[in-house]
Amino acid sequence: MTEVQAEPAADALRTPRVETKSRHWPYLDILIALAVFLALAVLPLLSGSKALLDFVIRCAAMGLFATSLNLLVGYTGMISFGHGMFFGLGAYGFGLIMQRTGMPVPLAMVVTLAITAVVATIIGAICVRLKEIYFAFVTLAFQMLIHSTILSWSSFTGGDQGLRGGIPRPVFLGIDLSNHVHLYLASCSLLVSGLLAMRQIAQSPFGYTMRMIRDNEMRARFIGIDVWRAKLAIFVLAALFAAIGGIIMALFVSGAYPEFAYWTISGEGIFINMLGGVTTFLGPMVGTVLLLTLNDTVTRLTEYHGIVLGIVILFFAIGLRKGLMDFVVEWYAHRRDGEGGRS
């Protein structure tokens, strides 16, 4: 039998790149984060709409997940198809701890993150050795392995029914997460502080190491960077933020379902990144809002939402050929340069 396979092309898996710009002012991010949090915090006072708050909570869960995926995809050039496993792990870990031990909520979150860190380190140590498309495949395989485990270990995880019966949420520090507004504020603060932390990682010297590994792994190795360790570190860090997204989701639906660990969650994360664009830090956040809005409106309008959603995706993939934020940034740069040239 014959093989049809080309020589490995150097640009086989080209990923768009995150721009590297010098910082103007170190506290700008913190100020923006505070302003955004305040704006989100007054939202319940302005609008009594429960649906709007629900929407923001879902955006917080998916947004943290998608942005953490972008740390891998956009910043380090590691395309993971299995990032959703940590979203599922966060949701299940937190749900199980709360149901079975009755720990205080913050402690349960910390324990969940610790478990995620251990699992991510083990899986990451195996995965990050592989490159490009093989890394994508092996992460996908691990994702499905975890999904199958959740399905088959039904005495512990509830099998295909998921964790039912609700997640108990004891009051801590005057915060009652079964209160809708409290849950909303907690989700917003997790979202904003999570984004801020990821921004710090991306702008730190380690963040620039990540970009270097993406651009030229060989060169990074030559100047003495332990590429394997750096990749493992960002894999674990990204997993932690994905798990926080999962925790928010578990709190929101008061349970955990096998779909949270299914590969479609990873697919959705990639999809969000592509919609919003991977070359800006906030691209995935924009993509999240875009996709959730799109999903909600289209499902309400038509039974055949697959066709409508598909056509919108095609518009992005074939029409724009890049994510929305990438498009906006490029358009802005182009316009600015154009004006500069004329004057």
Binding site: M1, T2, E3, V4, Q5, A6, E7, P8, A9, A12, L13, R14, T15, P16, V73, I79, I126, R129, L130, K131, E132, I133, Y134, F137, V138, A141, F142, M144, L145, S148, T149, L151, S152, S154, G159, W263, G267, I270, F271, N273, M274, V278, Y304, H305, G306, I307, L309, G310, I311, I313, L314, F316, A317, I318, R321
Partner: protein
Amino acid sequence: MDIDALTGCLASASCLVTQTTSGLIIGMLLFLVAVGLTLIFGVLKVVNFTHGAFYMFGAYFAMTAYQLTGSFALAMLCGAAGTAVLGLVFERVFMSRVYGANVLMQLLVCYAFVLIFDDIVRFIWGPEFKSMGMPAAFQVAPLFIAGGVVPPYYLLLIGVALAAAVVLGIGLAQTRIGKVVRAAAQNPGMVSALGINTGLIYGGVFALGGMLAGLAGALAAPVRSLTPGMGFSVLIESFIVTVIGGMGSILGALVGALLIGLIRSFGSLGFPLFTEGLMYLFMVIVLVLRPAGLFGREVA
């Protein structure tokens, strides 16, 4: 877990035959889908996530043709030819636009079409389960081999898939077209400079891959139930097959498909709930030990 059932089956000849046949059926159908996937990846460098949809369309085309004409042969032909045309159009009109773009953009186009194709099927044939029914010619008493039950249709299915494997293998290795296709996989720029229309080759390979998936769907139609989204699990499994066998290797697709088929049929006895988990576990082990797959060429 039910290890006793597994060891019990391994000890009895009749159960062994029955389980092996069902493993071969799964494996052969998977092979037809996976070989198209591996060909398309080998030549076009595209991971075709819509491949499951071609399988689905093949099954629906065959069912409709069978209901209209009552001819089984015509149904198979419609399933294969219909998806070949669909593959050609899809590649020329849409996929060919994103070859220059990065892998994620190609993925996005495929994802869009998975959604669109599923909804088109739901629109035309309805969302409920459909069944084509076993053609009268095959409604005969099953064969008994060493006490194991083997329906004659299964033999036809295995025969057709094996024939496809042989034709494909010889075609690629020996014929002129096969050589051109392999050359295009190696260096499309050079092939194009020699005056060969690479666009036509790309379209042709995509059509061939779509046709094989459609044929698999058509062959599966009498023994499986048809629903929109039926291509999904097949896609994932044939994906595992190509990764295990090595992307781009036809022999790898055959071996991988048979391995997965046997894991599924015997795994369902020993680990009824963890059968899928076994497949993924196997995929992880292969990827860690041989990242390029069992028969793939090592990538630096």
